[in-house]
């Protein structure tokens, strides 16, 4: 492995969209979930139910309320001895709102822990040097990682809004910077979330990010699989990468049994991230997965 960090991922990862009122199918359902999870205890309950079902990974945005979850986990080290977080950053709305309030650079300045670096470059109207951009990206990552201090974060993801923005812009270098920083500073593996899987794999190839962890929508109906379901199937068959499937139920449009059967038969994924909020659906997802992949494969 020549010093390269590579950790295995569990087959089932718990996602967090359901906790924050995100549902790609129904705003009404999203609102109901937002109401149900407005106390962090309700989130922790679901995490615990999942843990009791052998699901020991939370793949979560760096939403400020996750900080309350990480506080709880830090406070109960025995219960969560083997627990792992896969942070997904940034929580994009936080930045979008800041851009509305302060403009593009004002927003960056707001989120940087120290102002010196950016200001030095901007005040004189000088152009930004390469190391400055790398510095800004890494400082932003560090700011997002603060809430996970002392916890196990073996994989750190870049959110799709940022990945796909950089991908469209042709800012490939950003992926390499993120990759380097996550490995060097956190001893973790970088992951990339995208709605444009085939196109992203090409970009990661170009900047030498090898065998990357990539999380993308993978479902039978081709929901948000840009580039087309066939291109996805080809990529899953032929490209060297470590796929994490999300939106496997297409926000509820496909029944779980059928959705997971399709994944099992069509996509050789390493992990599946799913967003359940009830004991019954967590248990049933686990059971379907056990049935399809075999009993030892939850992790």
């Amino acid at each position: 492995m020549s010093g390269r960090i590579e950790t295995g991922m569990d087959l089932l990862l718990l996602g967090d969209n359901q906790f924050f009122g995100i549902n790609h199918m129904s705003e009404e359902k999203a609102r109901a979930q937002a109401i149900r999870f407005q106390d962090t205890d309700a989130i922790i309950d679901v995490i615990d139910i999942a843990l009791d079902n052998g699901i020991r990974t939370l793949m979560c945005t760096t939403h400020e309320r996750i900080a309350e979850v990480t506080d709880h986990v830090r406070a109960n080290p025995e219960r969560y001895a083997d627990y792992r977080f896969y942070p997904c950053m940034p929580y994009a709305h936080k930045y979008a709102n800041a851009v509305t309030d302060h403009g593009m650079l004002g927003a960056v300045r707001q989120f940087l822990p120290e102002e010196g670096l950016l200001n030095a470059a901007l005040r004189g109207g000088k152009s930004l040097m390469n190391k400055d951009i790398e510095g800004i990206i890494t400082l932003l990552v560090d700011a997002e990682m603060k809430m996970f201090q002392g916890l196990n974060t073996p994989v750190i993801f870049l959110q799709n809004v940022v990945v796909d923005l950089m991908l469209g812009l042709g800012f490939d270098e950003a992926f390499a910077i993120f990759d380097r920083h996550v490995r060097e500073r956190y001893g973790a593996e970088p992951g990339f979330i995208t709605m444009n899987l085939p196109m992203l794999l090409d970009a990661l190839d170009r900047v030498g990010v090898v065998n990357p962890i990539v999380c993308a929508n993978i479902n039978e109906i081709g929901f948000r699989m840009s580039g087309g379901i066939e291109a996805y199937e080809t990529a899953l068959r032929e490209r060297p990468f470590r796929p994490v499937a999300m939106s496997v139920f297409a926000s509820g449009a496909i029944a779980p049994q059928r959705a997971l059967e399709w994944i099992h038969d069509h996509a050789n994924v390493e992990s599946i991230v799913f967003g359940a909020s009830s004991r019954a659906s967590i248990a049933s997802t686990k059971n379907i997965v056990r049935e399809l992949w075999g009993t030892d494969h939850i992790h």
């Binding site: 924050f20 009122g21 995100i22 549902n23 790609h24 199918m25 129904s26 705003e27 009404e28 999203a30 937002a34 709305h93 979008a96 709102n97 851009v99 509305t100 309030d101 302060h102 403009g103 593009m104 650079l105 004002g106 470059a121 901007l122 109207g125 000088k126 152009s127 930004l128 390469n130 951009i133 809004v161 796909d164 923005l165 950089m166 991908l167 469209g168 812009l169 042709g170 800012f171 270098e173 950003a174 709605m195 444009n196 196109m199 109906i221 081709g222 929901f223 948000r224 699989m225 840009s226 580039g227 087309g228 297409a250 926000s251 509820g252 449009a253």
Partner: protein, 362 residues
């Protein structure tokens, strides 16, 4: 194609433009040097400090304008006069007269001129249009057009969005969207009344907008918009259409349709409730960023340009100019001025405000 303005929307458009098939990005224009430097260094984009320079040196066939609204008119005019197709962010301009002039100029030059009212590219809202065209809910009597979201949540803000004279405010930024959908579904209203532009946090512009739009035969539209509403995670636009044979409720994710027994039921529907989701209705796009609609609108624009068409397939300047006109009416009505077409409505307006106590608070 060239892109003018790389703020929040512009950057996202730029990414989509670059990712579009059959499109070459020839230049990016912005007033901020450091953004241009970064784009040039890391993405190889050619950058220009003014539109004029880009038009001269890069000679784009088409440009996309995503600058603050106050600057749209002069940039659009300059591009059209150079014979360049234009995709402009919404609203088109801050003056209905200017929007009408630009509409005429684009038509005269035979250029594709489109405005970024992306809701018309959202599958659920397209389904509403299809149902209304098929008279699925009979005679339409009323529309409730709403948009809510968390944009201005404190008395602060230092960008153009916080100033009405540069195109900031809930009316221009948020209300323009449901107004555009209403125009698409019902055409232009006859007048507006009962308009309220109220500030919740903003010092120099409005944070909530309410108005009634009148159409022929007693058809009315109620507009209710608030961009200081944190209970919505992000902008949420919805349309409720009431008709003699049923009702349609749509947002960007789902469409719920109630059809009365005996209504002229379209294929795929039944009497009673029908619910369809974006997951079933939405056609895939070649590149996805923040929503299929952003790519779909640009695919439509580029498609029209490449096919040598003389006008936009959707969201033409002409239709956006109508929305700008109604925005102007709402501004005047809220200020207590008479709206153009029927002066007789004005006294009613003030009387209603008195009745409901919804006058603008200081």
């Amino acid at each position: 194609m060239g892109v003018v303005g790389v703020g929040k929307m512009g950057l996202s458009h730029l990414a989509i433009v670059r990712a579009l098939q059959d499109v070459e990005l020839v230049g990016v224009v912005d007033a901020t040097d450091y953004l241009l430097d970064i784009l040039n260094k890391y993405t190889g984009a050619s950058t220009f400090s003014t539109l004029e320079k880009m038009l001269d040196e890069a000679q784009p066939d088409a440009i996309l304008i995503a600058t603050p609204t106050g600057s749209h008119a002069s940039l659009v005019r300059e591009a059209l006069e150079h014979g360049v197709h234009v995709f402009c962010e919404k609203p088109l301009t801050l003056s209905a007269a200017e929007s009408a002039e630009l509409t005429a100029l684009a038509a005269e030059r035979g250029l594709v001129a489109q405005v970024g009212y992306h809701n018309r590219f959202i599958a659920t809202f397209q389904e509403v249009k299809r149902l209304l065209d098929a008279d699925a809910i009979g005679r339409v009597t009323h529309v409730l057009a709403e948009a809510y979201g968390p944009v201005v949540l404190k008395p602060k803000g230092s960008t153009w969005r916080s100033r009405r004279n540069s195109g900031g405010g809930c009316l221009y930024d948020y209300a323009a969207h449901p107004l555009d959908l209403v125009h698409w579904y019902l055409g232009a209203p006859q007048n507006v009344r009962g308009s309220v532009l109220n500030s919740i946090f903003s010092a120099d512009t409005d944070d909530e907008v309410y108005s009634t739009l009148d159409y022929a035969d007693g058809v009315s539209v109620q507009l209710s918009v608030n961009w200081s509403d944190e209970s919505y995670r992000k902008m949420s636009t919805s349309i409720t259409v009431s008709g003699s044979q049923g009702r349609i409720v749509a947002d960007r994710q789902e469409i719920r349709v109630y059809l009365r027994e005996g209504a002229d039921i379209p294929d795929g529907y039944r009497a009673g409730w029908n619910i369809k989701y974006t997951t079933d209705l939405t056609a895939p796009v070649s590149f996805y960023l923040r929503g299929e609609e952003y790519s779909a609108q640009l695919e439509s624009f580029v498609g029209a340009v490449l096919a040598g068409e003389k006008e936009a397939r959707q969201n033409s300047f002409a239709s956006a100019a109508q929305t700008d006109r109604v925005i102007e009416w709402i501004l005047r009505d809220a200020a207590g001025e008479t709206t153009e077409p029927s002066a007789a409505v004005t006294p009613l307006t003030s009387q209603r405000r008195g009745l409901f106590g919804r006058g603008k608070r200081a």
